[in-house]
Structure formats: structure tokens, C-alpha cells
């Protein structure tokens, strides 16, 4: 665990403004990052020899509006280093009124589909993404189903359902 906090410390030293918080729970390090720095931090963690997080194991969105009334979304990155066998979690808070953040597809290619999923479910815009389109819901889907304000038994308009049924000609 000493090693993990060393990584956190190094991150804090390299980007003093970027790191807004740090927490270790059961040996897992979680670092909160300022939204403007995510590109730089991602590049650093991926390429730095000591951390070497070459593998993005997950990227997802969170709607925190009913969690702490913060009216914010969060993007969570789970990183893993195959060489050192260690993990870190990055959390970036973004405002719900303008949910956009820089893409990390230039650092980890796999982020492509993950970011499309987060866009599909939460409407988070990933700036610079090569092809930010819906991935899980059908074309023409309206709304973002994992947002807390999406109705629990939400239905798409009947006109749209008709389109799915017909299929592409």
C-alpha cells in the first residue's frame, strides 16, 4: 500500500492543482481530479514508468444529483497496470448543467466504446471523441436513461417504437 500512496503523492507533486482529494479504502486508492486536468493526468499515469497504467479497465458515469444534492455528474476511471499489478481509481466531477469533459481515447483506445456508453446513458459529452454516437440504445432514442430524472418506467414515443419495429429497409 505504501506504493499506492507514493503514486498519489507523485501525482499531487506533478499536478498540484489537479488533485482535489485522495482517499484510500481497503488498500484501493481513489483520487479526485479537477475536470480541466484529466487529459494531462491520464497521459502522465499511462506513460510514467512508476505508475505505468497501460490498461483502462473501466470508465463509467455517475449521476450524483440524488446522492448528495450536488447536481453533478461524475466520470470514474478505473486504471490497472499490467506490469506492476496495481490499480487506481480516478473520479472527476462535472456539472450536470454542462456535462462535458475531454476524451481519453488518445491515451487508451479502449475508452472509445466506454465513453460512447457514458454518453448514451448520461449524455456526457466527451470532447475530441472520434465518433461520439449512441451504442446501447437504438438510433433515434430520445433522452438519457440512466439519469435520475429519466422516468423509471420510461417509454420512448410511440412514433419512435414504430421505427424500431420496421427495421431498416
Amino acid at each position: 500500500m505504501a506504493e499506492m500512496s507514493a503514486i498519489g503523492k507523485k501525482l499531487k507533486e506533478t499536478f498540484p492543482d489537479a488533485v482535489t482529494g485522495m482517499k484510500t479504502f481497503r488498500g484501493e486508492l481513489t483520487v479526485s481530479i479537477n475536470k480541466d486536468y484529466i487529459g494531462k493526468v491520464a497521459e502522465f499515469l499511462c506513460n510514467d514508468d512508476e505508475s505505468d497504467f497501460g490498461y483502462l479497465s473501466d470508465l463509467c458515469g455517475v449521476d450524483k444529483s440524488r446522492l448528495d444534492n450536488s447536481n453533478a455528474f461524475e466520470v470514474v476511471y478505473h486504471l490497472y497496470s499490467l506490469r506492476h499489478n496495481h490499480r487506481v481509481r480516478l473520479k472527476v466531477e462535472i456539472p450536470a448543467s454542462n456535462p462535458s469533459i475531454k476524451t481519453v481515447t488518445n491515451v487508451w483506445k479502449t475508452a472509445d466504446w466506454h465513453e460512447r456508453e457514458a454518453y448514451d446513458m448520461f449524455g456526457i459529452i466527451f470532447e475530441g471523441h472520434p465518433n461520439l454516437e449512441r451504442i446501447l440504445t437504438p438510433e433515434g432514442f430520445e433522452g438519457y436513461p440512466l439519469r435520475k430524472d429519466y422516468p423509471l418506467k420510461g417509454r420512448q414515443p410511440a412514433s419512435l417504437r414504430e421505427v424500431y419495429r420496421k427495421g431498416e429497409e
Binding site: L136, T137, G143, P145, L152, R155, Q156, R161, R165, G167
Partner: protein, 158 residues
């Protein structure tokens, strides 16, 4: 036995409907449209223990063009709806459909934005098979219901 006595041993008279229906119902080639957990029970139904081959329906064709019974086994999402429809359309007539399980019949527990509330929203269904998942015996029962239905059809109907 009427006219047959005149023909000797080797000739049998019957109606065209009977022969055609007999061959159709005892050689159903299912299109296994396994979409979720129900598909596991469908596989079990074809495996030796339950042996759907006893009803002539063991030849699962993975090509819609070679099959005449679509078994929709599992949760149909709207993303999959267009594909379901397309595959159904590709099957040659005559064709039948079993909606297997609660999900395919009514959306089941998935009363959400993503799930089609019953595959009959998209394609015509002949037999609804309840259960979550239905046991293989139940699927065999559904196949037998289809057989009964075929028996009542006539080649002139189509």
C-alpha cells in the same frame, strides 16, 4: 375399405392436407432466437435428456431461410427488435412463432425503456409460453401445441 381394396396392398388414399400437415408438423425446423437466459432451457430441450428429436424438431437451423419455427427465447430489447423482425421476414412461409418465457411474451420483469413489452409488438405469435424460464417440458408442450395448430391448417389457406 372402399376404393382401396381395388388397389391392392401398396396404395393408400388420403387427403393432401393430411399428408402435408403430417410432414410439416413432424419436421419443424426451429430458428433458435436465443436472447437471454431462456435460451439455456431451449438448449436443454434439444439435448438428450428431453430430446426434442422425438417430436421431429431437433434440427436447429441457424439460418432463417432454412427454418419454419421461430423460438424467441429471452428478453427482446428495442435494439434487437429490428433484427428480430428482419430475421422473421427472412423465414420462408409457412412459419410459426413461439414466444418463450415471460420476457418474450410480455416483457417480463423488465418494465423499462429498453425492453419490448412482448414480442407480439413486432411479429405475430402462435404460442405464448409462460415461465421464467419455462422448463424444457413446457417448451415441448409448446411445440406440441404448434403441431396441433398445424394439423388444423389447410394448404388452401395460404
Amino acid at each position: 375399405m372402399g376404393i382401396e381394396t381395388l388397389f391392392g396392398d401398396c396404395i393408400l388414399t388420403t387427403t393432401l392436407d393430411k399428408v402435408v400437415n403430417w410432414s410439416r408438423k413432424n419436421a419443424l425446423w426451429p430458428m433458435p432466437f436465443g436472447l437471454a437466459c431462456c435460451a439455456i432451457e431451449m438448449m436443454a430441450a434439444v439435448a438428450p435428456r428431453y430430446d426434442l428429436a422425438r417430436f421431429g424438431a431437433e434440427v436447429f437451423r441457424f439460418s432463417p431461410r432454412q427454418s419454419d419455427l421461430m423460438i424467441v427465447a429471452g428478453t427482446v430489447t428495442y435494439k434487437m427488435a429490428a433484427v428480430t423482425k428482419k430475421i422473421y421476414d427472412q423465414m420462408p412461409e409457412p412459419k410459426w412463432v413461439i414466444a418463450m418465457g415471460a420476457c418474450a411474451s410480455s416483457g417480463g420483469i423488465f418494465d423499462t425503456y429498453a425492453t419490448v413489452q412482448g414480442v407480439d409488438e413486432i411479429i405475430p405469435v402462435d404460442v405464448f409460453l409462460p415461465g421464467c424460464p419455462p422448463r424444457p417440458e413446457a417448451l415441448i408442450h409448446a411445440v406440441m401445441e404448434i403441431q396441433k395448430k398445424i394439423d388444423k391448417e389447410s394448404v388452401l389457406d395460404e
